[in-house]
Amino acid sequence: MVLGVPTGTAVALFVMVALPIATLVLYWIDRTTNDGYVSVLGRR
């Protein structure tokens, strides 16, 4: 029981928080490896 809610709910809430962070990491990878162009998923 995380936050006092059922495990499935806690996982879903975690995903909703983690996805923005994941896109931020992808953006950092784009900037450092591909001049800002999308480089992971849909490489140009």
């Binding site: 059922p6 879903a12 909703m16 996805l19 896109t23 001049d35």
Partner: protein
Amino acid sequence: MVSTIQLTFGAYLLVLLAIGAYFFVTTETNRLSEYLLADRDVGAWPVAISEVSSVASGWTFFAWVGMGFLTGIHGLWFSITMIFIIVFMYRYVGSRFRRQSEQLGSITIADHLSLAVEDARLSTYVRVVATVSILLFMGAYVGAQIIAVGEAMDTGIGIDYAVAIAVGGVIVGLYTMLGGFNASIWTDVFQGVLIFVAAVTLPVLMIAEIGGWSAFVTEAAAVEDAALLEMSAGLAGQAFLLSALGLVTFAFGTIGQPHSLMRLQAIRSERLLSPASVISVSFQSLRLTVPLLIGAAGRVLYGSVDNPENVAMMAIVDFFPELIAGVLLAAIVSAILSTSDSMLLVASSDFTRFYEEKIDPNASSARLILLGRGTVGVLALGGVALAFVQPGTIFEIIEFAYVGLGATFGLPLLFMLFWERTTGEAVLTGIVTGLVATFGAGWITPEHYSLFVWPICIAAIVGVTFATSGTGSDVADVPEPGAGDASPADD
């Protein structure tokens, strides 16, 4: 007697009109691409925030709050699916779509599908069916937003529902007619910030009123006839599967929302897609989670209410001082108006392009912009009329339009961009099937129609592609990267 809430609200509407008037006076909206796409010169922040603001609509503060009130956190099945699709759209579809859009000179999605089909006769059919679909689904969507405006003003501000929807319709119609895409995108930015404040503050106050997070969790778990904090919503077996799949397939509509796709077309450079995705996903995560909590907290606080979709409005009036409540209600109504203006604009764009391409190719830009503005006015009136009739809840109308637009436009677009074998005949079939299947399945199985629309449409596109393979009409190729993109210095 005019209350503080009404005064604050009125002042906000004046600001909105002033923005429309500012762009009408200061920018020369005499070229169609400038009126509609702000000359493909929009930065990452305005694109992402305006997209969030334009989808954060009657949906966020009404339909999704109602969902939270009735089934609690169960709506996250939709939210998670939608966020993954947004990432897919920005990171995978965006660059190909923008590149092809620039090459074809397309302004809207209907325009894009029509221009991409190389056979002239098929291209005309695509444009006609796509324009009809846009007008039907967007008309319904705008109607749902105007109902939400009416409910917000009625419940929150104490203005009669009929007066409220008339005022809302006039304001949104007027400033979209005046300022075009520039006005629309900048009012969206302004409103996006207000929504953020409203979305963060309200649940905190509501949960604090209950006694803090632990008290909220305990009391929410104790609510009878609902499992507010469970992803299953207390359902099991087939009932759970149908409900969760219904939400997941509803979220698939994200692939084909014309007003969101238009922003991918308008972005200044492909290099801005990655940062725009971060902003968009962040705001979307917030607005797809928080209203569910507001709804669940509302269930704990209010027990039973006449209309669960009005819980956020009730809470704003109950938990904030009048002045702040006025600003927050203005923020919510403005979000709804911004959704409506994007929709009106996209629908009017398609009608204008249809006129330009098929009826009077020599029409002057001034005439086309006048026609665009006229269409906005007529559609706004149609939306007001629908709001008077109120054929369903806000949630039901939005779901119908969302799934319909996704199937009608999203699927043919994705097939065209990612499957080289797709033929013009398959694109046309996809659009027609999307339109017919949404209305047909919605009529036959109103509870579960989103489950059926997607497989039917995919089967139709794939089937016709194979059937016309070798003999069918070609569709435009996706251009190679590099050509026509803005240089890094322009970002």
